[in-house]
Amino acid sequence: MATQQVICAGFGGQGVMSMGQLLTYAGMIEGKNVSWLPSYGPEMRGGTANCSVVVSDKPVGSPIITDATTAIVMNLPSMIKFEKDLVKDGILLINSSLIDKKPSRDDVKAYFVPANEIANELGNAKVANMVMLGAFLELTKTVEVDSIVAALKKVFGPAKEHLVPMNKDALERGAAAVRA
């Protein structure tokens, strides 16, 4: 596989950190080399949050991403901040529920996913991140959806196993949103 360098970004509470962690966890389950690096620092409530995930069949070099193969942006400030870090023909996954602008670059592949609307239809606004993750997996096949589900079970633990089906639905709806 080619090395996937993924930036997940949004505002605090949108689940961008856990989206990145699930992808990292799933990569590890599949025996791939992975790293997860969060932004850290002083931040106000509702401020921006992002993490960098590398999934590769080779040992991970720098955990910092300067040439992203994909950026998953959950709000407008994140798109403005990170679209410039994409490689040419990189994937820009845009949460069109909260971003009403087009990206400024025309040399990247932009996909618009109304993640919040889809999550609300599923009955839980919190799974918007899983909708975006589902779209990402459909486009890149970085890991199997089953591995994400296995990771979910490990991260949630048995007490929250009942949330797994809804998360699976969210992954599937996200995939459907970008299926041509």
Binding site: M28, W36, G61, I64
Partner: protein, 353 residues
């Protein structure tokens, strides 16, 4: 054992407990807070004890006390907090006590910032405290290496009766990577017959002290310490050599920066430029002998650091004037990019080809 995904700060804490650490004394500071948090949650489960002291000075002196009683003990902090601990570290080294000190470093000087930096190289390797003492200093580049170094650090501290430091930057502390806990190679560790655990009326009291007013006695103590450091230099040097064959330039870099350097090496390779890397895993003792293996094709050395140039002093000493030594660094929490490092290499080689 299957690999698990952990955050660096927590992985270091878990490794310490696996290595038999029972006591932790610390004071909060970013970006290492998850480490004391983890210890406060986990240590009591193994019959140990966590204390948040009222200051770093207090914490390191609690370490001094626990180490004197023969316990496996650790403290952690970040750069300015480690600066505050220097007096205690010097005392512990002087009194020949084992302990492990973790520095998840940040930008300086002064209170500085909280983003990753490597500007504590001098502080770690030159003795931030007073006197003729040395710390064994590990600088892991990955979480697996951080776990391995931490587990071994406790044995080495006991073996040499000396503080051992594990230094990582904020990236090591904050990132997540898969890790597994592997037992370090077993060492014959001497009985801690020097520990102050009560005489029970059966022996003379043990005395733990770093004060020696008789100059002749103090010099004798220093000569003894030096012999110990010499032994560390002979036996504990760790380093990695990477892509050295036919290297035109050899970079020297440690910790997370060495990983960025590896990305730059891969990019340069695609352009037909062969560049090697010497990665010190122990900052002290510094891997002087790695420089003996530099190939005849090498025209120059390049020290790459997240500082304004500290390790470069050791690179110059190790090179002994055999190669010109260049520097590239960022500081204050800014992180070098692979492109910028590659450009520096091309500049050294006289422009892009």
């Amino acid at each position: 054992m299957a690999k698990i995904l952990m955050k660096g700060n927590e992985a270091i804490g878990a490794a310490a407990i696996k290595a038999g650490c029972k006591y932790f004394f610390g004071y909060p500071i970013t970006p290492q807070n998850e480490l004391p948090e983890f210890m406060s949650r986990e240590l009591h489960k193994v019959g140990g004890c966590f204390v948040q002291a009222e200051s770093e000075v207090s914490a390191i002196n609690m370490v001094y006390g626990a180490a004197g009683a023969g316990a496996r003990v650790m403290t952690s902090s970040s750069s300015p907090g480690i600066a505050l601990k220097q007096e205690g570290i010097s005392y512990i080294a002087g009194a020949e006590l084992p302990c492990v000190i973790v520095n998840i470093s940040r930008g300086g000087p002064g209170l500085g910032g909280i983003q990753p930096a490597q500007s504590d190289y001098f502080q770690s390797t030159r003795g931030g405290g007073n006197g003729d003492y040395r710390l064994l200093v590990f600088a892991p580049a990955s979480l697996q290496e951080a776990v391995d170094c931490t587990m071994e650090a406790f044995d080495l501290a006991d073996y040499y009766r000396n503080p051992v430091m594990v230094i990582g930057d904020g990236m090591i502390g904050q990132m997540m990577e898969p890790i597994e806990f592997n037992e370090p190679v077993k060492r014959e560790l001497p009985e801690k017959d020097w520990a102050t655990v009560g005489t029970k009326g059966a022996r003379k009291p043990n005395i733990i002290n770093s004060l020696a007013l008789d100059p002749a006695e103090l010099e004798k103590h220093n000569i003894k310490l030096q012999a110990k450091y010499k032994e560390m230099e002979e036996n504990e040097v760790r380093y990695e050599m990477y892509n050295m064959e036919d290297a035109e330039v050899v970079m020297v870099s440690y910790g997370t920066t060495a990983r960025i350097v590896k990305n730059a090496i891969a990019a340069l390779k695609e352009e037909g430029i062969n560049v090697g890397l010497i990665r010190p895993i122990t900052l002290w003792p510094f891997p002087h002998k790695a420089f003996e293996e530099i190939p005849a094709t090498t025209k120059a050395l390049l020290s790459v650091e997240m500082s304004m140039g500290q390790m470069i002093d050791d690179v110059k000493i190790a090179s002994s004037g055999r190669w010109p030594v260049h520097f590239y660094g960022r500081s204050g929490g800014m992180i070098p990019t692979p492109d910028a490092i590659a450009n520096k290499v091309k500049e050294i080689l006289g422009g892009a080809r």
